[in-house]
Structure formats: C-alpha cells, structure tokens
Point group: C2
Chain length 174, copies 2
Amino acid sequence: MDQIYLITDIQGYTPEVGRLLSMMNYARYTTLEAAKNLTTEQLDYLMDPEGNSIGALLLHFAAVEFAYQLETFEKRDLNEEEMLIWGPALDLGEKGRQAIRGNDLTYYVNKLNEVRTKTYELFKTVDDDWLHLEEPFWYGKQANHYFMWFHVFEDEINHRGQIRLIKKKMNTQL
Amino acid sequence: MDQIYLITDIQGYTPEVGRLLSMMNYARYTTLEAAKNLTTEQLDYLMDPEGNSIGALLLHFAAVEFAYQLETFEKRDLNEEEMLIWGPALDLGEKGRQAIRGNDLTYYVNKLNEVRTKTYELFKTVDDDWLHLEEPFWYGKQANHYFMWFHVFEDEINHRGQIRLIKKKMNTQL
C-alpha cells in the first residue's frame, strides 16, 4: 500500500511488467474501495432495468481478466465449459442480469482475487519483450500483449466510473 | 491510427514516455468516439439533476490534464486567473452545471486538442527518469510523475464509462 501511487518496479517482474502491474493494482484498489461495504441488495441494484448491477460489473472484471489470460498465454478463447461459468459475466446484459445476483461482496472479491493471483503467477513467466509481441486483434489491426492487458484494466476503470455513478443514484433510492 | 492498439515506442519520446502516451492516446480516441456527433442539447443533457453533463466531463478532461501539466512541469497549482477559466471544469458539480453549457462538440474538442498539443510538447522535454521522480501526494504518500499522468488518463477512462452510460439513458429520453 505504500507503493499505491507509484508506477514502478515490482519485485519478481521485469520493469515494464512491473509498471503494468502497478497500474492494474491501483485500478483494483479503487474498484474495491468503490465496492466496500455494499450489501447484497446494493450489489444487485439496477439503476436502469436494461443496465448492469454492481455485482455483475465486479464479476465482469474477473471474467475479462480470465479471458485475457487465455488470449495472451494460451492463445485461445474460452471453451464451452468455461463459457458456462464466465459467459454471463463476460457478456453482461440480460444473461448477466439473470445469472448474477444474490451474492454477497465476499463472493465477488474472492473471484477477483482468485483470477488476479493467477495473473501474478503468469506474469512471472514473461518479460518486457513478451509485452510487445503482436497479433491481429480488433478491426484487422495489430495489438500487442501490453495493449491487451492495458485494456483489461482500462475496461475495469471504465466500469468503475459507472459503479460510482450507480452508487450515487442508489443512495437516493435504497 | 495503425498503432492505436499498440502500447509501444513513439518517435520523439523516450521508451516509457512513449508507452504512457500510447495509453493516453487510446483513452482519448475512445473518448472522442463516445462523444462523436453529439449535439449541443445532448452535450448539455443531465441524466441526474445532481450529475454532470457529457460536455462538462469533456471539459473536465482538458482541465485535469492542464492541472497536471502545472503540477508536474511547474510544480504549482492553478493561479486565480487560471481557476477562473478552468475551475468549473475541474470541480464539476453545481459550478460546472452552471458554467459549462450551450457549447457545441467542436468547442470541447478544440479545448482537448489545445491542451493535448501542449502535453506532447512538454513530454518531448523529459525522459524515463523524470517519470520516476517522486513527491508527496495524496494522503501523505509518495507518487511519481508516471502515476500522476496515469491518473490523468485513468480519470478520463472513469468518466468515459459514465459518458457511455449517460448516452444510453439519453437515447431513451431525448
């Protein structure tokens, strides 16, 4: 926590991997701060009947991170079995609203920690050069591993902004 | 645009500054995509009477970036004159709702470009070591310049998530 505002080396990782992890750690810290003390009812709250609950967004972060572990380390998409587990959280929307509810905060935090622990292990096996490996990605353009993992945390920050907004609205209604 | 999914070197900048700028560029690209074609009425729309309009959030991005130019390159806060210009966009809330309205998209895009052009110039004058210079920051902890600029784009991504949510709601109401 003393390093929370430093984008810098992290022991056990190459320099650029350390910087990437620093940013991921800060993003996660702010996510957990935003979710802190929320009850199951609050985690299930829908600001908009067509929107996503905070709980679904939290599970989405774990699902996206898991998907990019497969994408960048195994070069594959989720298989059918994995989609049964992670599909609703990955896709959100109606599927997410139906499947992801009734869980307490610990449930979501455990999922987040589980996946992040795996990321920490995986990142130990790669280096700065690996971050710059490219492959065809969105719209026929090239992306490197660094971008893909940047996207993992930028998606989290994007939805964390929404979580903050949902909380503001919720506090006037629940 | 061919490099939009690459976090990598950018000519004229040291390696880590290039990577930071790559992330800032991607964040800005997605911001402009989210704001594309919005009318003045849409830019002024308030999803919540206590919330921020998309226009105010766009100007907030320029204001935050300007503030961190001063913070990291001049080691000072905004002076009174600068606060008259940027205060409402920095602070948002009631001040923002009153002062920031009636502008078209070009107005906001010009402000964003103006400040970003200055950032491009400033970043040419520094290097990777500069990114790692530390100073006391939030809650008595140290932050380095890298973190401060990371925060500039993570704040933008946070609010971009809100812009996307506001747009969704707006489309059912305007």
